[in-house]
């Protein structure tokens, strides 16, 4: 039943109609929309949607890949813990992301025990099966992933389990982009699964304060095209609101249970992002009552002299939606999928990686 429904969202005829409607709505000036989700970038590039859009309409990728946005210092912390003999678990996306001198994959090759898990629940199970072994899960991800970590903390994992919290929050990063003025945004395509959790309300202040149209879109080609059409319609009408296109999953109030669990377990703090300075109220930390599960406090891990980007790497500007991946001098030359130099070239949701796999540059 679900697949039959999704087929409609890949319907070529419907997509063609929406493209015509977009052509009719496009204003006589340059328009720049930014999305903040690696899955949106995959849909846009894989289905060649940019080639269907008017020349004066650009869609840039923003900070939508959480492993790309995780500062080198936090990956260095994970690597340091692994080198100390702690069993590290992480999601597959993080495994090959280059940090200051190494990756978690390279640390494993050097003899450390680093394992890829599908869910934090798998990491807890590893800790249960190895009671004498300290296990640290590298908890990366946006608001989509953080609730599963909160739920697992509330389930009460064993004493030998702890978390290196690297979670980041999307709306504060969007506000940073708007406030910086560097990115010149005419509209945001908001992420579908982050919004499934947080709902549409957290984006509303951005539309009010910065007069920017926003749409929460799904991940099929028709979803994204409809999202673009909705943004253009808001521009034409002089409106700036948060509209939901991805109604099969996103409710205005979001997932209230997930939000409650996140509030119970985490507090919101200011933190740096890779490619960004400190972004106010943009990250999670475990609340004091759960500090037994905080790997930073448990092991007092300290790293210094972390380096975010190799010389010449322009991932920071890619992550801030300022340039396309192909504008980086290393793209596809020194930096490839096989030998990635910057974080955006590594994971399947990094903008450079997506462009190398599916794009025409």
């Amino acid at each position: 039943m679900v697949s039959a429904l999704l087929e409609k969202y890949r319907d070529k005829k419907l997509a063609t109609k929406i493209v015509s409607a977009i052509q009719e709505l496009i204003p006589n000036r340059h328009v720049k929309f930014v999305h903040v989700c690696g899955s949106h970038e995959q849909t846009i590039t894989r289905f060649g949607l940019r080639s269907l859009l008017p020349d004066n309409l650009e869609v840039f990728s923003g900070p939508g890949c959480p492993v790309c946005c995780t500062p080198a210092a936090e990956i260095d912390e994970a690597i340091e813990l692994a080198r100390q003999g702690i069993l590290i678990t992480t999601f597959g996306d993080m495994f090959r992301v280059p940090s200051t001198k190494n990756t978690l994959a390279g640390t494993k090759t050097d003899g450390a025990d680093v394992r890829i898990v599908y869910s934090v629940a798998d990491a807890v199970e590893i800790a249960c099966r190895n009671p004498k072994q300290e296990v640290v899960h590298v908890a990366i991800g946006f608001e989509t992933t953080a609730p599963s970590i909160a739920a697992e903390v509330l389930r009460g994992p064993p004493e030998n389990f702890s978390l290196l919290i690297c979670h980041r929050l999307i709306p504060p990063a969007m506000e940073f982009l708007l406030a910086s003025g560097e990115t010149n945004i005419d509209g945001f395509i908001c992420p579908g699964h982050v919004s499934t959790v947080i709902g549409s309300k957290p984006y509303e202040p951005l539309s009010e304060d910065y007069k920017v149209p926003q749409v929460i879109a799904g991940f099929e080609p028709v979803d994204v095209l409809l999202g673009i059409w909705i943004l253009l319609k808001q521009l034409r009408d002089g409106r700036h609101e948060v509209e939901i296109e991805y109604t099969r999953s996103v409710r205005p109030e979001g997932n209230v249970v997930a939000q409650e669990k996140m509030r119970e377990v985490f507090e919101v703090v200011d933190k740096r992002w890779r490619g960004f300075p400190v972004v106010p109220k943009s990250a999670f930390e475990l609340r004091q009552e759960f500090e037994n599960y905080d790997a930073r406090k448990k092991f007092g891990v300290q790293v210094k002299d972390s380096v975010e980007f190799a010389k010449g790497c322009r991932c920071g500007e890619v992550l801030r939606g300022v340039i396309y991946p192909s504008e980086c001098p290393l793209f596809g030359k020194a930096c490839t999928q096989e030998h990635p130099i910057g974080p955006c070239a590594v994971t399947s949701e990094g903008a450079c990686n997506v462009a190398m796999r599916h794009g025409k540059f």
């Binding site: 679900v2 109609k17 899955s39 869910s119 992933t145 997932n255 249970v257």
Partner: protein, 75 residues
Amino acid sequence: MCLAIPGKVLKIEGQVAAVDFGGARREVKLDLLRNVHEGDYVLVHAGYAIQVLDEAMAKEILSSWEEVTRGEGGA
């Protein structure tokens, strides 16, 4: 990273469901939802169901967008 896959809830035991993803069956935790029932379609991310999908709403919105885009150039 925020990838989430829809699947059908076959069976619920406590806070864990058996979910069918087009033939592949996996255990999924239900801690993040209230009122999930067997037969529902849920959206699953990293082993946890994060939403019950609303198919009726999805169909309705598609047909209404079709109407509008067919209209006066998206007016």
